[in-house]
């Protein structure tokens, strides 16, 4: 528990100390404007909820990918990793705390999007199914956190983490149905998309903002949670593997 809190506090301080970590919070309003402008210009006011939820997901994803992914490699680069491993507190709990802080910041995106929608276009978030919305958001953040852990562990293994960060945004937005539901994508992509929790989350988020009844809510929510749990499990396993390997090969200090 101590490790979790220590990590939480650390990451909050790190993020607050440098504006560049908050990058997605600067672009979220702009994307909100872009998406809302597109749907309104096309006369599709029924798609406004879609336009609002897309930047929320994009912001969370960016935080998980970039801030989360670089958790361990950043420490390694700063020469801190070895000594963090030598500390009595479990390394995994510190990572979880840091990921939690990252997700908390990511969630600010939700309020930004809401605010910009209201201020610029007079479009609010329609809380048609508030309970379902809240549950979906919580489950989504859980799954995002799990993904962040996977990224944190994987980035240590690859030399090209930087290129991956750049490439892992829009492909995932397409496959994850962040704006356009995956049902519209070609048939052969669908199986791939259904493994990405975002596709389920995005559908549920959009659904909870529309008046119609949400079909099979609990089943689909369950998928988000399941995929999130799988991410955590994979992340934890890869992390343990990576750390053990580093202890044995001695490759802690440099990439």
């Amino acid at each position: 528990m101590k490790g979790f809190l220590a990590g939480l506090k650390l990451e909050m301080r790190i993020i607050r100390s440098g504006p560049d970590a908050l990058l997605p919070l600067f672009t979220a309003p702009l994307f909100t404007i872009i998406f809302l402008a597109i749907v309104r210009n096309g006369g599709r006011h029924d798609l406004q909820p879609d336009a609002l939820m897309a930047p929320v997901l994009m912001t969370l994803w960016w935080f998980a990918l970039f801030q989360g992914g670089n958790l361990i490699t950043g420490d390694r680069w700063q020469g801190i990793l070895e000594w963090a491993l030598a500390a009595p507190t479990g390394f995994a709990s510190v990572i979880l705390g840091r990921v939690a802080a990252i997700m908390a910041f990511g969630f600010i995106g939700f309020f930004e999007v809401w605010g910009v929608g209201e201020l610029v276009f007079g479009v609010g978030i329609p809380f048609e199914h508030p309970l379902e919305l809240v549950l979906t958001i919580v489950a989504t953040m859980f799954a995002m956190a799990g993904t962040a852990v996977v990224f944190a562990a994987l980035f240590v293994l690859t030399r090209n983490a930087y290129t991956f960060t750049n490439s892992a945004s829009f492909p995932f937005y397409v496959l994850g149905g962040v704006f356009v539901p995956i049902a519209i994508l070609p048939g052969w992509i669908q199986p791939l998309s259904s493994v990405i929790f975002m596709s389920w989350s995005a559908d549920l988020l959009r659904g909870s903002l529309k008046p119609e009844h949400i079909h099979d809510f609990w089943g689909r929510l369950g998928m988000v949670i399941l995929l999130g749990a799988v991410s955590f499990a994979i992340g934890r396993a890869v992390l343990a593997l990576v750390l053990r390997r580093m202890r044995v090969t001695g490759e802690l200090a440099t990439a």
């Binding site: 101590k2 490790g3 809190l5 220590a6 506090k9 650390l10 301080r13 790190i14 100390s17 440098g18 700063q78 020469g79 801190i80 070895e82 000594w83 963090a84 491993l85 030598a86 500390a87 009595p88 507190t89 510190v94 202890r247 044995v248 090969t249 001695g250 802690l252």
Partner: protein, 317 residues
């Protein structure tokens, strides 16, 4: 609690190459060492000797390829969890701190990692900042600290868990002499508190001044364990004096002095090597009496010390 603070038995550490064509590196080769509780033990060696590797193994960050090591009775591999809370690690250099956070924030983070409660963390951080003389800079970002300040923060961080056993890896590298001296005083204080310290360094003078015993290591092998006095004797025995403007007559007279081993000349300057305690004094006196004042003395290099020490030892055996 009796028993040594640190016990290293035949530890070997080999690094396998990443690519086929690189060589494998034997960083440590059957190293054995014992440090009783309360001792400041120096680990003296040039860069690449294996000092940092040994420190990493003892701090549970690296696994030995073979052999065992124990800290206060706990095996560093099998019982890493028990070892971690009782050790403190300090190393020199620029890296190892969150540069965007303040000194205080860094300390509080490590305090939390060493299982201190919130209040304790703040108190301990305050105490340590005061102790290492960083209180007035405590709330500035580490990225603005000078080298010496970072090093002091490293020491504070090493002490945050109030460890009984401390590993210091080249803590005074790059420090100016004044700062280094203050640092050494601090280490002396720590010893007075009953802590055991392993100090890895390539600075002989530091090793001589601070340690109870010094182990010499080179290329992964332990060469000898000496008392600082013998070390100091070697250091002062094999000094050299560089002179400008001494004429041939003077140099010939110098050659006849007892203890003067060799004189080499280049372009108007001469280097006088001595091999006996006290010889330096006689040489200097002669030079000054002759009116030559452009004089510089220097100590032998670590390699030379090794050669002399080990060479002597070789003769003894």
């Amino acid at each position: 609690m009796p028993g040594p603070a640190v016990a290293v038995e035949e530890v070997t550490r080999v690094f396998e190459p990443r690519r086929k064509r690189d060589a494998r590196v034997v960083a440590l080769d059957r190293v054995s060492l014992e440090i009783p509780q309360g001792e400041i033990h120096g680990l003296l060696g040039p860069n690449g000797a294996g000092k940092t590797t040994l420190v990493k193994i003892l701090s549970t960050v690296l696994v030995p390829t073979s052999g065992r090591a124990r800290v206060l009775g706990h095996d560093v591999v099998e019982e890493a969890r028990e070892v971690r809370p009782i050790i403190g690690i300090v190393f020199g250099g620029e890296r190892g701190l969150y540069w965007r956070l303040t000194g205080r924030q860094n300390l509080e983070y490590w305090g939390a990692l060493y299982r201190l409660s919130g209040g304790e963390t703040r108190r301990r951080a305050q105490q340590l900042l005061e102790r290492v003389g960083l209180l007035d800079k405590a709330d500035e970002r580490v990225e603005q600290y000078s080298r010496g300040m970072k090093q002091r923060l490293h020491l504070a961080r090493g002490l945050v868990g109030d460890a009984k056993v401390l590993f210091l890896d080249e803590p005074t590298t790059g420090m100016d002499p004044l700062a280094a001296r203050e640092f050494r005083n601090l280490i002396g204080e720590l010893k007075g508190e009953g802590r055991t310290i392993l100090l890895a360094t390539h600075d002989m003078v530091e090793a001589e001044n601070v340690c109870n015993r010094v182990t010499l290591i080179d290329r992964g092998t332990i060469l000898a364990t000496e008392s600082p006095r013998s070390l100091g004797r070697v250091i002062s025995r094999f000094q050299r004096i560089d002179v400008e403007g001494a004429d041939q007559e003077l140099l010939t007279r110098l050659r006849t002095l007892p203890g003067v081993q060799a004189i080499s000349e280049t372009d108007g300057s001469a280097r006088i090597e001595v091999a006996e305690e006290g010889a330096t004094g006689a040489v200097l006196k002669l030079l000054v009496d002759a009116g030559v004042t452009s004089v510089k003395t220097s100590l032998p290099s670590l390699e030379e010390v090794y050669v002399h020490l080990i060479g002597d030892r070789g003769l003894e055996i």
